[in-house]
């Protein structure tokens, strides 16, 4: 159990049987009055947010959340399938749960699946992934403007801005947190 004095940004709580994370936190108290712990809470499944003030007598249940290393296998309709390589257990996430992560998910990628009470609710990717460029305009020789970029399509279907010298078939490293190009991968 958590008490009100444990509340802080980033803490994960179980409220009405759903996992919430505190995204904003503020302690307020009139000098002679009671302490109020003002929180903005985000539902970790639906993403919806709400504000609530708690009091010092309130107690909270921690959300039973853990991460498990799994491998991305394939997409089928709006479902994504992942497998635990040790137990061969398979779990599924929906399109909504995967969100923009799908832009960087290639087959056999190792990811961390977030489980709430053993139910998969989301995932986190490695910070960097390497992707093949599948569609790119050829590099016009003489185009030497430094810092110039062009859009290319990578194997996941994601379109990304890269330097003009990148060509089709090459591999690039991408930062999954920002969605931005980092470097060309040689070999």
């Amino acid at each position: 159990m958590y008490t009100a004095s444990d509340l802080r940004k980033g803490l994960r709580l179980k409220i009405d049987n759903e996992p919430y994370v505190i995204v904003e936190f503020n302690f307020v108290k009139p000098g002679k009055g009671q302490a109020l712990y003002r929180c903005k809470l985000k539902n970790m499944i639906t993403g919806s947010q709400f504000d609530r003030s708690f009091r010092s007598v309130d107690t909270f249940e921690p959300a039973d959340l853990r991460e498990k290393k799994m491998q991305y296998l394939y997409q089928e309709g709006n479902k994504y399938c992942f497998m635990d390589n040790e137990t061969f257990e398979q779990v599924y996430l929906t399109d909504d749960q995967v969100g923009d992560n799908k832009n960087f998910m290639i087959d056999n990628l190792d990811v961390e699946i977030l489980l709430f009470e053993d139910r998969p609710i989301g995932l986190s990717l490695p910070n960097f992934v390497e992707l093949f460029v599948t569609e790119a305009e050829p590099w016009a020789k003489g185009d030497t403007v430094s810092g110039a970029t062009k859009p290319v399509k990578v194997q996941t279907g994601y379109t990304i801005q890269v330097p003009t010298f990148i060509s089709e078939g090459e591999k690039i490293r991408v930062d999954t947190r920002t969605g931005e190009y980092l470097t060309r991968v040689k070999g």
Binding site: K29, P30, G31, K32, Q34, L36, S56
Partner: protein, 312 residues
């Protein structure tokens, strides 16, 4: 030198302007009181019995406690005939930590015999205007992108009026629904002292444990709070001088504390017996850190002290 050291020094060095401002402000406050014939007193930080209040938690210190305010000792001095006294001291309150709260903070308190809360409001206005002027802030201050005009007279609004005007509800029903503090903090405080400082006054007696009630209405106490830029700056009142009534209120607070399993303190008996000799008086507690926040134009109390508990 490792990185942590570098970081520490950087953060401390960056506070220099604010710490200089803080020192100047405190020196000017002290000088003001000396010039106006107030005696500077020092009372012990470690005491056997803090005033039992429902929502203020003392730290224990061996079998005694750290003061949550110097109020009780200062009133004993008043009762002994010290007519005008002031003190700048550290106060300690458990579980108070936030953007505007430190568990150890600096309080200015002053007490005057034969004064009441209206006189104290006027005096408060005079003192802050003079001290701010001395510190280089005349006429107005800029706080969080808003200009606050310091020229007197400052606004005055009763708690009942504030509930009606800013929260569109009445104070009595807020108390009945146990929503007094929520409404005050969330809906009223953001509107207080925005254009000029404001005194919020005439609190329900339940929220004024050591204040005298009004002659014509025992449910209202002669207590006020000063707000500047939505910050609670000071709490003042006409002192309750009836030992019997004070004993009853402390008893009520102790019952409420016991019901919530709070730390229990013995009753401050020497203070209670001194009250029997206390003539009419008024006193006020003002947060020094909050004053520096105003002048430094910062919304975070960490910026105006050299160290916080987290950096020790």
């Amino acid at each position: 030198m490792n990185e942590d050291h570098f970081d520490d020094n950087f953060h401390l060095a960056r506070k220099k302007n604010f710490l200089e401002l803080r020192a100047r402000l405190i020196q000017n406050i002290r000088q003001y009181f000396i010039n106006h014939n107030y005696l500077e007193v020092e009372t012990p930080l470690r005491i056997p019995a803090p005033a039992p209040e429902e929502h203020i938690e003392a730290f224990s210190s061996a079998d005694w406690f750290l003061q949550t305010s110097p109020e009780l000792c200062m009133k004993r001095l008043l009762a002994a005939g010290y007519e005008r006294i002031f003190q700048i001291s550290h106060c300690f309150r458990q579980k108070e930590r936030g953007e505007k709260h430190l568990p150890e903070f600096t309080m200015l308190e002053w007490y005057t015999l034969h004064a009441d809360y209206f006189g104290l409001m006027n005096q408060c206005q005079d003192i802050l205007c003079a001290v701010f002027r001395e510190t280089g802030y005349e006429h107005e201050i800029l706080f969080q992108n808003k200009k606050i005009v310091m020229a007197p007279p400052w606004e005055r609004i009763t708690v009942a009026e504030a509930f009606a005007r800013f929260a569109h509800t009445d104070c009595e029903s807020a108390i009945a629904a146990d929503k007094f503090d929520e409404i005050l903090v969330e809906r009223i405080e953001p509107c207080l002292g925005v254009e000029r400082p404001v005194f919020l006054y005439d609190y329900p007696t339940k929220y004024a444990a050591l204040a005298r009630t009004k002659k014509d209405n025992p449910r209202i106490a002669e207590r006020f709070e000063l707000y500047i830029g939505s910050l609670e700056i000071a709490n003042g009142f006409s002192e309750l001088t009836s030992a019997a009534e004070q004993r009853k209120r402390f008893g009520d607070a102790q019952k409420a504390r016991a019901a919530k399993n709070c730390l229990m303190y013995p009753l401050p008996e020497k203070f209670l017996s001194a009250l029997e000799k206390l003539p009419a008086a008024a006193g006020i507690a003002m947060g020094i850190d909050r004053l520096v926040m105003l002048l430094a134009d910062t919304k975070c109390i960490d910026d105006v002290v050299a160290f916080t508990p987290e950096t020790l």
